[in-house]
């Protein structure tokens, strides 16, 4: 029995067609949205229920086979990139909406349900699921929880962690753990949000549902300088307005999006602000009036007249990644966050770096919550250009940390930002992360090596965290 291969054991334990093996067949799973990194898994398991997940866990536990849990594979940081010799545990077949409680505004769903499918399932009750990552057509709720995904409406409606009421999960031991917002004691539910598949396998999620607003209006304002646009963002917040979305784009991003979507963006401005106001009709009208007063210095201004126009104006922004993608063989999307007051300065720094590295960059921001998405344009076909691009990206992230921000706001660390983690955290803090992983998964079989860098990696890089003038990692050898 023990000599039987892991793939054979899996094929025997799960129904026919649930296990994919062989180099040709597993190719579809060799990467996630960070497609520069590829690795074929040993096998892919596609269970349809919890018992089947337990069976996969049991086989992998006995054979010490690493598991990479995967939703729709839309993640941008390599969280679902397979590891050599691993089993990919794909939950995309677990697509049942278990129950909807419109009264309590809750829905219980399996992890493979797509983000947008939740909103579609509850639309008849005038409800929707608020977090809206740009990949919401495809990405799964299980993946959203694993990454603590954001979107353009986070400032007002929160991240995934704010919209999850409870989860059921399995530990690597196959034990079921139910975590809820009502639990006494430590915030284990919050810990699971954004844990990138390292702590357990999420099998069921109870999400909070939000009432659809009576009215939503989008204000589009163009500015002659980025600085003026950044000031407008601060002024809107200071005036007591909490926009449903507050997005900024630079000239390059505006041009790329307009050429792609024809949303009617002005092409003679340096920065564009999209400010969405939603809620009860009277409130929206009052907020609109104050917003327009604040935006009086804008060179162009437009308020959506109807739903079609509002959605079209959004489409330009939501399509900015593929729009920029049309202009270059490849692009690399960054995800740093900063305190908003540094917005203009950070953008100037990015432009300097762009000149230094001789690589073009388009900037789109979730300005309301200080989340930047610089898109670096490059050509992977040119030898050395990917490395140059990654160095450029790293410089941006280091700058974000130096002004008090973070290396990732919503895309996660995965394999992509392991080095950058050494900049943001001290060795003691990283040790805590490793110990948390060990508390849940002592044999390190769930997505091992992702999300938290090995300590020697940080020392070798020399990308070291400096905090309060202490010498970083004094206990580690330098090379």
């Amino acid at each position: 029995m023990t000599s039987m291969s892991v793939s054979s054991q899996l094929s025997r334990a799960l129904p026919k067609g649930s296990i994919i093996c062989g180099s040709e067949n597993t190719r579809a799973f060799e990467c996630d949205g960070l497609s520069v990194y590829k690795q074929k898994p040993m096998a892919v398991a596609l269970p349809t229920n919890i018992e089947q997940i337990k069976a996969v866990l049991k086989i992998c536990r006995k054979t010490k086979t690493p598991i990479v849990t995967r939703g729709a594979g839309t993640g941008l940081s390599g969280g679902a990139t397979p590891l050599e010799g691993c089993v990919v545990l794909g939950l995309s077949k677990m697509t049942r909406v278990v129950s909807i409680d419109a009264q309590s505004q809750l829905a219980v769903v399996e992890p493979g349900v797509r983000n947008l499918a939740i909103s579609e399932a509850v639309a008849e009750y005038g409800l929707y699921y608020a977090p809206d990552p740009s990949s919401q057509i495809a990405c799964t709720i299980g993946g959203n929880v694993a990454e603590n995904s954001g979107g353009v409406h986070c400032l007002k409606y929160g991240l995934t962690v704010h919209n999850v009421e409870a989860i059921k999960m399995l530990t690597m031991d196959g034990e079921e753990l139910i975590l809820s917002r009502s639990d006494e004691g430590l915030g284990l539910l919050a810990l699971m949000n954004g844990s990138e598949g390292l702590l357990g396998v999420i099998t069921e999620i109870t999400v909070k549902l939000t009432k659809k607003p009576a009215l939503a209006k989008l204000v589009m304002a163009g500015f002659d300088t980025v600085r003026e646009c950044a000031h407008a963002v601060a002024d809107i917040i200071k005036a007591g307005i909490v926009p449903a979305g507050l997005e900024m784009m630079d000239k390059f991003a505006i041009e790329a999006s307009e050429a792609f979507v024809h949303a009617g963006y002005p092409l003679d401005v340096e920065a564009l602000l999209l400010c969405e106001l939603d809620g009860e009709v009277e409130l929206v009208e009052a907020e609109l009036e104050s917003a327009l007063k604040i935006l009086v210095g804008a060179s162009t201004i437009k308020v959506s007249e109807n739903e079609a126009e509002r959605l079209l104006l959004w489409q330009g922004r939501k399509s900015s990644f593929p729009a920029v993608g049309r202009l270059s063989p490849d692009y690399y999307c960054m995800d740093g966050t900063i305190p908003k007051r540094h917005l203009a300065g950070v953008l100037e720094k990015i432009n300097e770096l762009s000149k230094h590295y001789q690589l073009r960059v388009a900037n789109v921001f979730h300005a309301g919550d200080g989340n930047l998405h610089p898109l670096i344009l490059y050509d992977a076909g040119v030898p050395g250009e990917l490395e140059k691009t990654e160095a450029f990206g790293m410089d941006i992230l280091k700058h974000c940390v130096s002004v008090g921000g973070s290396i990732t706001g919503e895309h996660g660390v995965g394999i992509e930002k392991l080095d950058a983690m050494c900049v943001q955290y001290s060795v003691k803090e990283l040790e805590v992360f490793h110990q948390i992983k060990a508390a849940f998964d002592p044999d390190s079989l769930l997505n091992p090596g992702k999300a938290v860098p090995e300590l020697h990696r940080c020392a070798e890089l020399g990308n070291m965290h400096v905090h309060h003038g202490e010498l970083p990692h004094p206990e580690l050898e330098r090379f």
């Binding site: 603590n148 954001g150 986070c154 991240l159 962690v161 530990t171 034990e175 753990l177 139910i178 975590l179 917002r181 009502s182 639990d183 006494e184 004691g185 430590l186 915030g187 284990l188 539910l189 919050a190 810990l191 949000n193 954004g194 601060a234 002024d235 917040i237 200071k238 007591g240 307005i241 909490v242 966050t337 900063i338 305190p339 908003k340 007051r341 979730h366 309301g368 919550d369 200080g370 989340n371 008090g404 921000g405 973070s406 290396i407 990732t408 706001g409 919503e410 895309h411 996660g412 983690m421 943001q424 955290y425 001290s426 003691k428 803090e429 805590v432 110990q435 948390i436 508390a439 938290v452």
Partner: protein, 186 residues
């Protein structure tokens, strides 16, 4: 208690220590009420960073000047923000963005930050909400705040908390070991 260095020293020197409350001959105690005040507050960021001994009343007064407010329910203005953090639940944790802590070995660490979105590393700053002073001394914390009118809609009364499973408790024990391996915090 005035400085972080003093707090670290106190924890390093203690075999057992209790956070908050009043000292007695039987029990060594850390009184955080004098470790108070605003560390950083930029109204346009919707973020405030405060020392753990700051009272709810003090914070509310500071925020009021800019017509802003805390997003979680409070009913005891005398309570310190640290005490509330130690006993609160998920609705409170929703507002937490980052913490500075001293662990049971007297080591200073930071988790999370002062930004709305941060998914680098596990969410320790929300994990420790409700830790009852048993894992680490929380020295300062950053919160998301909102304009006063919007904050009101977020302030829900705490729900009765449910007791948890044996697995939940065993994980809690393991996590205690990580932050306080010598069992200093009692």
């Amino acid at each position: 208690m005035k400085s972080i260095a003093e707090l670290q020293q106190l924890i390093k020197e203690s075999e057992q220590i209790h956070i908050g409350g009043t000292s007695s001959e039987l029990k060594k105690n850390i009184d955080m009420s004098t470790y108070s005040g605003v560390v950083e507050y930029y109204p346009e960021e919707l973020v405030i960073t405060i020392k753990a001994g700051t009272s709810i009343a003090q914070i509310e007064q500071i925020l009021k000047k800019n017509n802003q407010a805390l997003t979680f329910f409070t009913d005891n203005p005398e309570q310190t923000i640290g005490a509330l953090y130690a006993s609160a639940g998920a609705d409170f944790a929703d507002a937490v963005l980052g913490v500075q802590i001293i662990n049971g070995k007297g080591e200073l660490m930071n988790f999370g930050g002062q930004v709305m979105k941060n998914v680098a590393g596990y969410d320790v700053s929300r994990l420790l909400v409700g830790s009852k002073g048993q894992l680490a001394l929380i020295t300062q914390m950053s919160f998301k705040i909102l304009p006063a009118a919007a904050a009101l809609s977020h302030q829900k009364k705490p729900r009765p908390q449910q007791s948890t499973s044996a697995l939940h408790m065993s994980l809690t024990q393991k996590l205690k070991q990580i932050f306080d391996p010598y069992g200093v915090f009692v």
